[in-house]
């Protein structure tokens, strides 16, 4: 196939071909960035919380105040453990992805001169690591004695467990076991390291900066109940647990309750909506671009009927005509893609500075190019086939 005749014919349609190229360039730029953002959202939605998610239900109550808090909460927990299908029941300060958390900055020395990064303070009642399904990778779990009181959320027990992310951030290259930091004037020492445990909300690199502490139920630690149960019985367990709590504590208010998968779904609801919206716009964009390519190609075919007839009359096969239009389309789309890549990169740079988006990986460029080439070929196929069916006799007619 000779490229020169195609190029010289395109030169006669500079404006239309240029516009089509521009359209493809903008489409390519938007497509690359939108698909990247969709992937970004989807991968965030895959986050590993560190919990046995499919087995957990939670009930958020208004808690118990006063001196009764410990015995009342403990008897509530005992009653909840009696529900068929419940493996364990605990109260915790907060749950990962619940949009509700307590944060602090540790001091790395006793006089508070050097401060560590902001992290979440996670507190739970006896056996909560096991109940939530959090995996210990180093050291050991809290002992029974560690579950003591708290002073406005600061546990009396000096033992703490940190996530691997905290261990690597605070004590890189050394074992975290036995290391310590201070909250205010209180010293806490690491007795164990857990694999994963994300915070109440995701915060980029700091999403897993969590320190876990032990405490027995108290006025502070009495509102959020978490039950681990058979995954197939979650809904029934949730209903039974709510009924049991209400029966045992007529004054207690259950503000909210649900399964952990439900809570996770809520956390990502807006990301999911945004991903759908991006996908919808991308689809609409591709359709409009395809229609534009097809529409312009039909016009060119109609305009060149005579020229096609002449070519056919002097020996061009139907295949030649078909390939002519396909190659022409390929050239225009290629030009558009080239321009589009530059534009895509520019848009990505702007997004990076305004929305904390990472750099667009290079792999998106060939994939985006391939998608647009395919789209172009599909859109031009109809008009090109029509062109290839123009009979040679057209050449002999005056239009």
């Amino acid at each position: 196939m000779e490229l020169l005749p195609i190029l010289s014919s395109l030169r006669r349609h500079k404006l239309a071909a240029g516009l089509l190229m521009l359209e493809i360039a903008v489409a390519c730029a938007i497509l690359c960035n939108a698909v990247f953002m969709i992937r970004q959202r989807l991968s965030e939605m895959q986050v590993h919380t560190g919990l046995a998610e499919s087995e957990l239900v939670w009930l958020k109550t208004d808690g118990v105040s006063g001196a009764d808090a410990t015995p009342v909460t403990e008897s509530n927990l005992a009653a909840l453990r009696g529900i068929p299908g419940v493996k364990s029941a605990v109260v915790v300060a907060s749950l990962p992805l619940s949009n509700d958390d307590m944060n602090f900055n540790p001091s790395m020395d006793a006089d508070g001169k050097h401060r560590g990064p902001n992290m979440e303070l996670m507190v739970g009642s006896p056996g909560y690591l096991h109940a939530l399904g959090i995996k210990l990778v180093e050291g050991h779990d809290f002992s029974a004695d560690d579950y003591a009181g708290v002073d406005t959320w600061l546990p009396h027990s000096p033992s703490m467990i940190v996530t691997r992310a905290v261990a690597e951030r605070l004590w890189p290259g050394q074992s975290a076991l036995g290391q310590a930091f201070w909250i205010g004037t209180k010293r806490y020492q690491v007795i164990g390291v857990v694999d994963h445990m994300v915070r109440g909300e995701l915060r980029g690199n700091a999403s897993e900066y969590t320190a876990l502490f032990a405490a027995r139920p108290s006025a502070e630690l009495s509102s959020l109940y978490v039950l681990r149960a058979d995954p197939s019985a979650l809904d029934r367990v949730l209903r039974d647990a709510a009924a049991k709590l209400a029966a045992l504590n007529p004054q207690m208010l259950i503000n909210d309750k649900g399964t952990y998968p439900g809570l996770r779904g809520n956390y990502f609801a807006s990301d999911r909506a945004m991903a759908w919206l991006l996908a919808t716009v991308c689809t609409a964009l591709l359709i409009v671009t395809a229609l534009g390519i097809g529409g312009l190609a039909s016009f060119w075919v109609a305009q060149r009927r005579r020229q096609i007839g002449i070519r056919r009359a002097i020996g061009a096969t139907r295949g030649d005509i078909l390939r002519y239009f396909q190659t022409e389309n390929f050239l225009i789309v290629s030009g558009g893609i080239g321009l589009g890549m530059v534009l895509a990169y520019t848009i990505n740079l702007a997004l990076m500075s305004h929305y904390e988006l990472p750099r667009l990986p290079l792999a998106y460029f060939p994939v985006g190019a391939l998608a647009l080439w395919l789209l172009g070929q599909l859109a031009v196929l109809g008009p090109a086939l029509r062109a290839s069916h123009v009979p040679p006799v057209v050449a002999t007619r005056s239009v």
């Binding site: 938007i30 945004m274 409009v288 534009g292 929305y355």
Partner: protein, 434 residues
Amino acid sequence: MFGYYLDLALRSLARNKVLTTLMVVALALGIGATITTLAVLRLLSGDPLPQKSAQLFYPQMDPYPANQPFSRSGKMPWLLSYVDAMNLLRARRAQRQAAVALSQVKVMPQTADGNPFYADGVMTTADFFPMFDAPFQYGAGWSAGDDDARAQVAVIAGFLNDQLFGGADSVGHMIRIEGHDFRIVGVLRPWAPQPRFYALHLGGHSYGKGQGVFVPLQSARADGITPSAMMSYGPGSGMDHLETSPAIWLGVWLELPDAAAVSTYRRFLANYAQQQVALGRFQKSRTAMPALMEWLRGEHVVPDDARLQAGLAFGFLLICVVNTVGLLLAKCLRRSREIGVRRALGASRAAIFVQFMVEAAIVGMVGGVLGLVFAELGLWGIRHQPAQYAGLAHLDLSMFLFTFVVALAASLIAGLLPAWRACAVAPAPQLKAA
């Protein structure tokens, strides 16, 4: 003449039904997407109190120790400590001033069969209502005297009044909040500034229906009601001694009527911070006092997603416009012969130009109407999104008119190039070819 162009344009559009539909639908999709996202953006970035916002200011200072800054990027702390907030309030240097904190409060209906429920509560001081022009259905706000006397009084929102008292005048009735009886002194008309500027960083919602219960700050604290948001900047801060601990948990608002009052207050605030440094309470003397809209912009109240969506929609509209240009251009080049004949029969270049622009405008207007349908559809979709502001997304009259402005502008820009090419057609070669 215009009627004739209209007739010509309609004929030309009718001749290529598929292509015309294609152009109209593509343009409508672009316009629909743009208007939908712009309506949301307008809603989110709107002025919550248009008549008053220029006179409302938000004082900030920095009690954080130097080695433990509030933020690494040098941002001012969002809230004030109780001591500083009360010092500003007691100084009475502004026309009006109020401190605000939010809390989730347990409300116990007074009827025998009522179940307790949680309501969004505001702890504030007397000037809150007149300063923010909160409209009363019954009664009025409490007085500064009530604040000092820790009076057990409350103002409730209209929707809570409907729920508890069937909409009747409930002034003088009691309401039980967190186990304490409060006497209702006022019932608000529906009032919910969007975004809820005074709730920012206090742990409440920025959009949607407003708070249900308003109680005097000191009375609520005496009853042990705790704020939803609290940040401590030193050891020894706990929820039970918030008044004295190194913790920030209050937003203060000031009403300053003119520029002179603003600069006077700025000086007062700077002096106050320097005094605190001298007293050893503060280590830094920096202060800030943004006006309401400046504060909202600085804190990026508009979600990033809404901006991204608007950007995406504009990109899409650009594609649709370029698409229309391409198709109109192809169409007009095919009609070179017709143009040649019209030129030969005496039509001027301007006449040809206007003829093609009329054609583009028709595409634009039809695209605009269809775009409006798409926008309504898009907003219906937004209303079913999980965002706080979702329920508020709607098209007002100005956005309705703006749709047609966008449609007409888009189509006229799209028509410009083809029309210019059409009027540049030289008649002689076209006639010869025939």
